[in-house]
Every structure is written in C-alpha cells, then in structure tokens.
C-alpha cells in the first residue's frame, strides 16, 4: 500500500475532490490542513516548492493539484 499524504485547506474544492477520489478507490491517506497547521505548511512548501493546494505526496512522489491521471499512475490504478 502506498503512503499517501495530502496537504489541503478547508476551502479548496480540488482538495475535496482528491479526498473523494481516494475514498472511492479505497486509498488510505493522511491529511494536513495547512491553513491551521503552520508546520505542515512549511513541510509542504519545502517538499513541493509550491504555494498552492492540494499537494499530494504518494511514496515521496509529489503531485501538484488534483491531477487525476498522475495520481492514478502513482497509485498504480490501471484503467
């Protein structure tokens, strides 16, 4: 099972869509709310060099945004 972490904000719909996608595909994930958690925010920025959510870490592969195709690839979900 891949280790999946999502960095999100409560107001970001693409984060919601990504989490729904994980739920639908039975992918367990850890979530960090970078709006309230400054430490997680720093961690996200240093990992991704991005100031935008969602950032998704799948086994240390960083995916920017709800990029379904690359998420499927990283998780090995074949179509």
């Amino acid at each position: 099972m891949a280790k999946v972490t999502i960095y999100s904000t409560p107001t970001c719909v693409y984060c919601k869509m990504a989490k729904e996608f994980f739920a639908k595909n039975n992918v367990a994930y850890e979530e960090h709310d970078v709006a309230s958690d400054a430490k997680a925010r720093e961690e996200m920025v240093s990992k991704s060099h991005q100031l935008g959510v969602p950032v998704i870490d799948i086994d240390n592969q960083i995916i920017i945004g709800f990029d379904q195709r690359n998420i499927e690839k990283a998780l090995g979900l074949g179509k």
Partner: protein
C-alpha cells in the same frame, strides 16, 4: 450517428443533457468536469430553489441529476478539441483523448476560463506566489503581503477572502473605478488592510524561488514602480472556450459565439451555443440552465422533423 453532442458539464450543458435524455434523443455529453465556473465558489446564494450552497455541492448535484438519466451517454475527463462539418451537413467531433463522434447536431456549453495577465513571470511563478484560486490558497499567505489584480466582483471577493490572512493587500486596478457590487466595493475601499492602486497595470512578476515583487506602470504619470509582494492573485476576467469552433461559427471580438437569442442557434446551421461561451448578455448559472433547455428543445424539434 448521434442526434446531438452536448459539449460542457456546467449548468447549461447539464440542463440540456437532462432534457435530451428525457426526450430520448440519441445523445452524449462530453466534459472535462462538472459544475462549471462556480465550482470554486464558497457560497452561491442566487441559485433558485436553494438559499445557499457551495459551488462544490452545486457541481455534485448537477452531476448526480444527469447521471440519474438512463438515456444519455456521458464522457467525462475528456475535452472536445475539434469540430468539422461534413458535406452532408452532419458533424465530426474529436476529443483530446482521441475519440471521434459523428452527430447530426451540436450544442456548445463549454463556458469560459480565467484570463491571464500575459506578463513575464506569470507562468514561471504559477503556484509559487501567483494564484488563480483565492478560496483555495489564501490561507497560505498568512502574514504575507499580497496584490490582487482586477477591478470586478471576483477581484473584490478575492480581497475579502485575503483579509483574514494578509495584513497588507494591494488592489491593482487598471482604471479609476471599481466594478462589482457596491456593498463589496465599500467594504474593500474602507478596509485598513487594503490599499487600492488606481490606473495601474502589472508589467512583470518578479521573484527568486517564489514571487517577491511586481513591477507596475502608473498609466497616468507613466512612472514604473516595483512593489514588494509575496503573492499575486490574478482576477482579471474570463475568456470563452470557443477555440475549437473558430472559423466555423461567427463570434464577437472577445470570442463569444453569436447566437439567435430566440433559439440559441449559431450562424452555422446545426450548431447551438448557450451560457458563458455564447454572446449572452448576463452570465449567470440560472440563465445558462434556461438557455440550455431552450436550445435542446429547439434541437428536438429538428430531430422530430428528421
């Protein structure tokens, strides 16, 4: 051969899709995603029949209502990239994922997308201080200095979203007036964290790893200045998604597809357009729904006649 290919999954496309299914037309709806541009909206308070819902919930509702119909095919995660009219008057539609569809009629409800500034640094710093979704990313600018570019409703709402986080917000306005709701205008104008720079145009977004400044021009004095900011929120309006029918249908100077507002049919017989991609006077979810229904009923009349 389809009766109709519906392009777009916003309110206009979905409304047309539901009616097409209920009329049992041989139909398909192609869309990248559902919900249209309200998707990012934190709260919609003018969707008739619902006092308040998020753009996300509106999108889910639209998708669920369409998927509840048996008599329509849905192709999602795909995008129409080309339309050709054949000598017999029918059409071939091609998609990004390589699908080719033959159809008698086409309804375009592809909406619009955000306009970009088109200045150096904008692409380079996209996601590195340049922001196109304020509701998503405003919290990342906690304690930071920001600039919002634009003078309409979306720019004003972007400023309001940022007030909770950014202690200093510059609003970069091209002219000397704000557009948008008077109530929001007053709130923005009178807020101590907000400074409005009138008659200013962004020339360049500068930075190192992340944005650290913008260079702008004062169009009255001609002076150029550099302003230190950590974030640039681009809210300068919309562009219609009509590129795939350029040269096939008549458009206005901005790329909106011209339609007969009685039927929604375009200058090309067999193609209809509704919602924000059309030259509709008011760009509203509720209007797109009505226009989508109007168009599909007009198409149904043609299908019946054969």
């Amino acid at each position: 051969m389809y009766d109709v290919v519906i392009i777009g999954g916003g309110p206009g496309g979905v409304a047309a899709g539901i009616y097409a299914a209920r009329k049992k037309m041989k139909s398909v709806l192609i869309t990248d995603s559902f919900g249209g541009q309200s998707l990012n909206s934190a709260g919609i308070e003018n969707w008739i029949g619902t006092t308040n819902l998020s753009g996300y919930d509106l999108a889910k509702n639209l998708e669920a209502h369409l998927r509840a119909q048996k008599d329509i095919e849905i192709i999602d995660n795909d995008l129409v990239v080309g339309v050709t009219k054949k000598p017999d008057g029918t059409f071939t539609v091609t998609t990004r994922e390589g699908k080719t569809l033959e159809t008698k009629y086409i309804l375009i409800a592809s909406g619009s997308r955000r306009k970009r500034l088109g200045v150096p640094g904008e692409d380079q710093f996209d996601g590195k201080g340049v922001v196109f979704c304020t509701t998503c990313d405003a919290p990342l600018f906690d304690g930071k200095t920001t600039a919002v570019v634009g003078g309409g409703n979306s720019a004003l709402e972007s400023v309001i979203d940022l007030i909770a986080y950014s202690p200093k917000i510059y609003l970069i306005v091209r002219s000397d007036v704000l557009r948008g709701d008077p109530i929001t205008q007053e709130k923005v104008k009178s807020h101590p964290q907000v400074q409005i720079l009138w008659n200013t145009v962004v020339q360049e977004i500068k930075g190192d790893k992340f944005v650290n400044a913008i260079r702008y021009k004062d169009t009255k004095s001609g002076d150029e200045k550099v302003l230190a900011v950590d974030g640039v929120f681009v809210e300068v309006g919309l562009l219609p998604n009509s590129d795939f029918v350029k040269g096939i249908v008549d458009m206005d100077d901005y790329g909106h597809i011209k339609v007969d507002h009685r039927t929604e049919e375009t200058s090309c017989s067999g193609i209809w357009a509704v919602g924000d991609v059309s030259d509709v006077l008011y760009q509203q979810n509720n209007i797109s729904v009505g226009d989508g229904v109007k168009a599909i009923l007009n198409i149904y009349d043609k299908v019946k006649k054969g």
